[in-house]
Subunit: 192 residues, 2 copies
DNA sequence: GTCTATAACGAGATAGAC
DNA sequence: GTCTATCTCGTTATAGAC
């Protein structure tokens, strides 16, 4: 049961998403969104009663979009190595915009966020881990990927590395650092 | 030229450090420190005129302490693999306290922080990278470590992975996730 | 050094007109 | 749906007594 999102709600979410990914959820206010979209603070409250609710919907939309992108990769990329390559490129796009992964950013602030947001953050990570685990298992069976230990463990290593590499790279304003680390790790999985 | 730090200043820094590592720099106020240390907000301003200055000194002290710990590892641990193991254990202690690395947390908020804090955050990362690069070079020369590419690249991969693994692990309240990822990566460097 | 008191501002949120 | 106006509270920071 999904409510229809008005065009205005979408514009507000876009602005809030950009602000969250660059400044953090505690680093912006309704006044900042107001300035970005050209509506008064009061009008924003009509669309999102509370900031907590806005935050929760932010993550839900982000996860949904990500899920679609992952399915798309499954369709377009034939083998596991290329799927991983394209997975990394999803994050390359994020860091190129001087943003962090929405949920990576929120994970840093999680102790100060409403519990409902924490639940959605973990759902996002779960989604990523499940997809990666699946790809890693396929790759190992097909002989195109090599790694020690469980596929789940490797998936978590991959996800953690991408989140952390973005975090550090952005503090230098240098997306190249992210790509270097990401590909060095990927190389570990694909080398003969 | 180093100013002597009074005992009260140290207590304040301890409280502020804990708050920053758990809630983020934008996630606490002088009122929170006040409650933790039993001084009024006004008294805190006597020791640290502004929150920006408190934040800067927080990072400087953290880096200094870390530098001492790294030197200690150099003295106690004979070979590169054991030095890496002990390096990881520094972070294990952090995540065990349900905290993040101070500079990992601050890196997420960097766009909202005073520029002086951003400079100190990068100095911390530089310090880590330089130490790791050195250990990785030693290990490769001694034949106790194996990795592709430059030692600096491997150092950055290691640092990024640790920061990210902490970030994700803490959002599940599960330090075990951090240790799994850290050791899986270390294993890549030490395996025959 | 620590306190009380307060200034000056920004935050999230609501009431009610249009 | 969007606005103006306002409320209440929390924030950083300062003045001045003790």
């Amino acid at each position: 049961m999904k409510l229809e999102k008005g065009a205005t709600a979408k514009v507000i979410l876009d602005a809030a998403e950009a602000l969250t990914q660059t400044r953090g959820f505690n680093g912006f206010s309704y006044a900042d969104i107001s300035e970005a979209v050209g509506l008064t603070k009061a009008s924003l409250h009509y669309h999102f009663r509370t900031k907590a609710e806005l935050g929760r919907q932010l993550i839900v939309r982000y996860s949904d979009t990500f899920e679609v992108a992952l399915a798309e990769i499954g369709v377009r990329a034939p083998d596991a190595p290329e799927r991983l390559e394209r997975y990394v490129s999803l994050y390359t796009g994020v860091i190129a915009g001087e943003r962090l992964c929405l949920c990576g950013m929120l994970a840093a602030e999680v102790t100060t966020l409403p519990p409902a947001m924490g639940d959605e953050i973990r759902r996002f990570f779960d989604l990523n881990e499940a997809w990666l685990t699946n790809v890693l298992e396929q790759g190992r069976e097909a002989g195109s990927l090599r790694y020690e230990g469980s596929a789940l463990g490797a998936a978590r290593l991959l996800l953690g590395t991408l989140e952390g590499a973005m975090l550090v790279a952005r503090s230098y304003g240098d997306p190249g650092r992210f790509e270097e680390s990401a590909h060095q790790l990927l190389a570990q999985f694909t080398k003969a």
